[in-house]
């Protein structure tokens, strides 16, 4: 992605128009990445705002020669990871300590189709496994790019991809058998 490095220098000096230019230039990329993990427009927009606020809070840490789009992707993925972990923890807490929905249990839920089942299985994956898998299969990044974005070694990324696929296959297999 073509990027004017002067923008970073200006943003570091507190130039408001540079902030605006950075958001205008990179918001589509940030939105696209977050859309891979969150399905509601409001969630995506809130997280995208958080990403830019984090970036501007740490703008002094960026060197002008640093790969800014790569750095921004890393901040975006880390923000998604934190949010997915929070959501997962909330969900587990609700399932463990929340009120029992006896009334809703009596209504038979509609059975999801094959695509729906696969989506549920993907959403149920641990974010540690889900993020590299989505980056590989949906964003079509290479193992090296995923490693750089997530701050992991390439071996670690490969292990996570292998585990994610195995786990997905096992979830989908067991659901198929239940049916």
């Amino acid at each position: 992605m073509e990027f004017d490095r002067e923008l970073i220098v200006r943003a570091q000096a507190g130039d408001r128009s540079a902030y605006e230019a950075i958001v205008n230039q990179f918001s589509a990329m940030v939105f696209r990445l977050i859309s891979r993990f969150f399905r509601s427009r409001e969630d995506v927009e809130d997280l995208a705002q958080d990403v830019f606020l984090k970036v501007f809070a740490r703008i002094d840490q960026i060197r002008p020669d640093e790969n800014f789009p790569g750095w921004l992707s890393r901040v975006t993925i880390n923000t998604c990871y934190d949010e997915l972990r929070k959501t997962r923890r909330r969900k587990t807490a609700m399932e463990t300590y929340g009120p029992e929905l006896t009334a809703e249990k009596s209504v038979a839920p509609t059975e999801p189709d094959t695509l729906g089942k696969a989506r549920l299985a993907l959403q149920g994956l641990d974010p540690k496994l889900r993020i590299p898998l989505v980056l590989k299969e949906v964003e079509e990044l290479s193992v090296e790019e995923i490693a750089r974005t997530m701050g992991l070694t390439q071996t670690n990324v490969k292990v996570r991809l292998f585990r994610a696929r195995k786990k997905l296959a096992s979830i989908l297999g067991s659901r198929g058998k239940q049916k």
């Binding site: 927009e45 705002q49 830019f52």
Partner: protein, 115 residues
């Protein structure tokens, strides 16, 4: 048909794009955050900052000096312990630097003799 392949293809199509006022919202939140993060130093107007800084430094120096200078006692330990037992004659003998007058001396001797 591979359900995962279909899912990934489907996911690839789902992309949200930023709305027209997204940039303004980010900048508004950024300003809000900056206002919240401003501390006492930012409340002080720029022109009075040097005066404020000098005053703060002087106050700090005063407290440091107060802490570092040891407290000097008004009198020594021996004086303090003896004071309660000292008679006027002993007080003259140990504490007074000037020699008393003859009349006073005679009065003191008379008092001693009575005791």
């Amino acid at each position: 048909m591979n359900p995962l392949k279909d899912l990934f293809d489907d996911e690839r199509k789902r992309v949200f794009l930023p709305g027209p006022s997204f940039t303004e919202r980010v900048l508004a939140r950024l300003n809000e955050r900056r206002l919240r993060e401003t501390g006492i130093w930012d409340i002080v107007p720029g022109s009075t900052r040097p005066v404020f800084a000098v005053a703060l430094t002087l106050i700090l120096c005063f407290f440091i000096v107060q802490l570092m200078v040891p407290l000097a006692p008004q009198r020594g330990m021996i004086e303090a312990s003896l004071e309660a037992e000292q008679s006027p004659a002993e007080s003259f003998l140990y504490n007074e630097t000037e020699v008393p007058s003859r009349e006073v001396m005679e009065q003191l001797i008379a008092l001693e003799d009575q005791q």
